[in-house]
């Protein structure tokens, strides 16, 4: 298990532990089962089958990256179980057996671009879309490109660039960004760079002297956890868009962080956005099971829609009929201590949109898992389920 997944496993153990201290659920204690597919995509499917068939779990909280989620999908459909997916993803999916508690593109990428286009965000006119070469950055950038063009950005003012996984020699790429950004128009970088490639990327930015006041970088996969391995001082002012930041000052968040430190016995461990997604997802599942009076997947899936639980930032997260949830969007600037300072937020919560309105193939699709529609990809033009 890599760093991000380990944190999520620990937070689930903590949530289950707390629920059991409150007397469990439906009079029974919850029992955690942990499996580690070691970032091996086919193994995800195998382990998922093991969990459902052998361990007979009531629900699965997990997966990391869309590839892993796609690989377990057939298993969850065949054995009719429930998966909670806590990571931000590219959208373009809505499955009956999956609840998406991470952000869809309209809950992260689009608001971030909106902020940068605004006066406060620097009125950005030129865009670099820099990503790691896999499905999430590719789809997100496709959506962003269409969105930017719809907003009147010219094609020559958009540069899209991909690098391999774990890329570490960013010299040429950063020089390219610098040259693109010195054309006299305010430029920003939208980064969908994944995991380990981020540290060398930010180090190179710092060394080549690109400050956030010159070319701000807004990232969708960089959180408190990733900044822990970095000297954040040269990065002050670069941005991240999330639905949760550890620095957000609410009573619920304070309590959560205290419990987290007590549970892990490490007062320095950070919290992050996917952890909040699991917190929300778990509480939703508990509420739905209480409502249904059983852990039977069919009944719980029906009971889930409309369930509302408090999130950690002072609002309410509600499960929508498309199996996505409502989330507030925050834009934070990196501080010298590796935390984020919120500079902008949406006025209320934003409902997750499974099918983007900016892609030609998906703008006519809607998803509603309530009866009688019960369809994840209903085409409003043709009036048919199935795309």
């Amino acid at each position: 298990m890599a760093i991000s997944e380990t944190t999520l496993k620990d937070v689930m153990l903590m949530l289950i532990d707390e629920q059991n201290k409150k007397g469990g659920l439906l009079g029974k204690k919850l029992e955690p089962v942990v499996v580690d597919p070691a970032s091996n995509w086919p193994l995800f499917a195998e382990k998922a089958k093991e969990l459902i068939v052998k361990d007979k779990v009531a629900a699965v909280f997990g997966c990391w990256t869309s590839v892993s989620r796609k690989s377990v999908l057939p298993v969850f459909k065949e054995y009719n179980s429930i998966l909670f997916y806590p990571v931000q993803y590219e959208g373009e999916e809505s499955e009956r057996n999956v609840f998406y508690t991470g952000a869809a593109p309209n809950q992260q990428a689009i608001p971030a671009v909106d902020y940068l286009m605004s006066e406060d965000g620097g009125a950005v006119k030129r865009w670099v879309l820099e990503g790691t070469d896999y499905v999430y950055p590719r789809t997100t950038n496709k959506i962003l490109e269409a969105y930017l063009k719809a907003k009147g950005v010219k094609p020559e003012d958009i540069m899209i660039n991909y690098t391999p996984f774990g890329f570490s020699d960013w010299q040429t790429e950063v020089t390219k960004i610098k040259a693109f950004g010195s054309a006299g128009k305010k430029t920003a970088v939208v980064s969908t760079i994944n995991g380990d490639a981020n540290v060398p990327f930010y180090k190179e930015l710092g060394n080549q002297g690109i400050k956030a006041t010159d070319i701000p970088v807004v990232a969708f996969s960089v959180g408190e956890e990733e900044l822990a391995g970095l000297d954040a001082k040269p990065l002050v002012g670069h941005l991240a868009a999330w639905n949760y930041f550890e620095s957000i000052d609410t009573p619920a968040n304070k309590k959560f962080i205290e419990e987290w430190h007590a549970f892990t016995k490490k007062p320095s461990r950070t919290t992050n956005d996917p952890m909040e997604a699991h917190y929300i997802g778990f509480n939703m599942w508990v509420k739905a099971v209480e409502k249904a009076g059983t852990t039977d997947p069919d009944k719980v899936i029906d009971a889930m829609i409309g369930v509302g639980v408090p999130n950690l930032t002072g609002g309410i997260a509600t499960m929508m009929p498309n199996h996505h949830i409502t989330k507030p969007v925050y834009i934070g600037e990196i501080q010298g201590n590796g935390q984020f300072n919120v500079v902008w937020q949406t006025p209320g919560t934003v409902p997750g949109d499974a099918w983007s309105d900016y892609l030609p193939g998906s703008k006519d699709l809607i998803s509603d898992w309530r009866k009688p529609m019960s369809c994840g990809n209903f085409n409003v033009k043709t009036g048919k389920c199935g795309g």
Binding site: N161, T163, P164, D169, T172, T175, A183, G229, L230
Partner: protein, 539 residues
């Protein structure tokens, strides 16, 4: 009588003058206080756009501590006291002062910090730039000029001109002249003489930003002479930028090659000399990086800047020791079975990764970069980042040292003998077991040194080594097994090819092209660039 009157009139006049002077002084100081109050009031709105206006207001009012107040705002040391309507700043020494009066106040507990975002930071750069153009320290003047160049403000033209008239420092003068040019480019009604002067200053600067300002100037003037000058200036800048960008790519290629060489050269020894396919080589690199982290944690703070240098021998010893343990406990039983060695060392690499993960945690560890390893400097149009420069030098030094060990020491002689013909060397009385062990220690130790270098550019995480193992094998196989020069030339070729391809076809495609090239190359020359010759090889 008449004289007496005249004297008293004079006195009265003088008194009147004094009064007027005093009054006008009061007025200006009143106006100054008003402007400052206005600016401070805007801070209380707690909106970024208002804060930006407040900054401009403070800069125009230019109170005695103006620069300090603005710096405090940028560093998050400016606080608001809404109850008493006071703005308070903390000095770097930790004293709390009233921003208006400069009087000491009781601390800032419970007060709200003025919030800062990128827009506010930009406004600050421009304002602090204008305020510190006249600073006594030439370095600060140059920084101020750079800030003004990036955020030109037409109002700052007067201060820049005043400083230019008395500027004694040559580089400060050049920087100020460029700042002036940027200001002229952003002023709608600058004179033609100013425009010509600005174009000359910008041509001397010669980068993309300068080009934009020249274009902005030429767009404003119908004057043919100015348009012509602008055009030839842009053409000259474009030419020199093209040449420098080629040189820059070459430099990046060398830099990439130095990292490849550092990571691979240890493998060239273990793989080359002993024919052991050591899949745990990457983990030796990782151990070196963690050794750097541990050294950083235990050195006293006064030595913090030198902890990386101190880590070099320690990382070498740690990785060498780990290498010996692996060789003695696993590899020596498998010398004649390459496939089993591959699997066994793969297992060892997983064990090492998990051990480090258990010991240090899964999160990345932060290795401090001392000042001489961060930032960049310009060499003509080349931008050279310090950490990469030192890695190139380290790589060269390690290469030279290994060459020396192999060529000029008796251990090196024995090692070469074992490489060429193991049985004959053994028959001549060389303890091949000992040579194997020491060679493995040397190869692993050098990987540890690579880890120190990589801690400056990459993640210090348990899977650091995995990212380099494939590249390392590629270098060794391409260069020719068992040859240090081959490894060096292999690293250089691959590094340069990578960095030349990257800007043209992108990083992802570049890698694919390179891999295809190596596959084809190995088809043609299975033994790499520098093939070993002789009967021993054939057997």
């Amino acid at each position: 009588m008449v004289r007496a009157i005249s004297i008293s009139t004079r006195r009265a006049l003088a008194a009147l003058f004094a009064l007027v002077a005093l009054f006008s002084l009061c007025l200006t100081s009143l106006a100054f206080a008003d402007a400052l109050d206005d600016a401070f009031n805007k801070l209380f709105a707690d909106k970024f756009s208002q804060t930006e206006q407040a900054i401009a207001g403070i800069a125009t009012a230019a109170p005695p501590h103006g620069a300090e107040i603005l710096n405090a705002l940028g560093d998050g040391r400016l606080y608001l006291d809404p109850l008493n309507k006071r703005v308070i700043y903390k000095t770097t020494a930790g004293d709390a002062l009233d921003a208006k009066t400069g009087a000491k106040v009781d601390g800032v507990e419970g007060l709200k910090k003025v919030r800062v975002n990128n827009g506010v930071r930009r406004a600050l750069e421009a304002a602090v730039g204008a305020l510190s153009v006249g600073n006594a320290d030439p370095q600060k003047r140059i920084r101020a000029a750079h800030d003004l160049f990036n955020n030109p403000n037409p109002k700052a033209l007067a201060v820049v001109d005043a400083q230019l008239a008395k500027e004694g420092d040559a580089s400060a003068k050049a920087a100020l002249e460029q700042a002036r040019a940027a200001i002229v480019a952003s002023t709608p009604d600058a004179s033609a003489a100013d425009a010509t002067r600005a174009i000359a200053a910008l041509t001397a600067r010669g980068d993309e930003a300068a080009k934009n300002y020249i274009n902005a100037i030429s767009a404003k003037y119908k004057d043919l002479a100015i348009a012509g000058a602008a055009q030839s200036a842009v053409a000259a800048i474009d030419r020199s930028l093209l040449i420098w960008s080629l040189a820059q790519n070459g430099w990046y290629g060398i830099s990439a090659a130095s990292v490849l060489l550092l990571a691979a050269i240890g493998l060239a020894i273990t793989f080359g000399v002993m024919g052991v396919i050591n899949m745990a080589h990457g983990e030796m690199v990782m151990l070196g990086a963690y050794a750097t982290y541990v050294v950083q944690m235990i050195v006293p703070p006064s030595m913090a800047n030198w902890s990386v240098v101190l880590a070099l021998p320690i990382a070498f010893l740690v990785s060498a020791a780990a290498g010996v343990v692996i060789e003695r406990s696993v590899i020596r039983y498998l010398y004649t079975r390459p496939l089993e060695t591959l699997l066994a060392t793969w297992g060892v690499s997983l064990i090492l990764q998990q051990a480090v993960r258990t010991l240090f945690g899964a999160s990345n560890r932060q290795v401090y970069s001392p000042p001489f390893l961060s930032g960049a400097f310009h060499l003509g149009g080349l931008e050279i980042t310090q950490n990469r420069l030192w890695i190139i030098l380290l790589s060269g030094a390690v290469f030279a040292m290994l060459l020396f060990v192999l060529r000029a020491t008796s251990f090196g002689l024995q090692m070469r003998a074992v490489t060429q013909n193991r049985r004959m060397a053994s028959a001549m009385g060389i303890s091949t077991v000992r040579v194997d062990m020491l060679a493995f220690a040397l190869g692993s130790g050098v990987a540890g040194i690579a880890g120190v270098a990589l801690s400056q550019i990459d993640n210090v995480s348990p899977n650091l080594g995995q990212g380099y193992i494939i590249d390392s094998f590629m270098v060794v196989v391409f260069g020719g097994v068992g040859n240090l020069w081959g490894a060096a030339l292999g690293a250089l070729t691959l590094g340069l090819a990578n960095k030349i391809l990257e800007p043209i076809i992108g990083a992802v495609q570049g890698q694919i092209v390179l891999l295809v090239f190596i596959i084809l190359f190995i088809q043609k020359r299975p033994r790499g660039l520098f093939a070993q010759k002789g009967r021993a090889v054939e057997s």
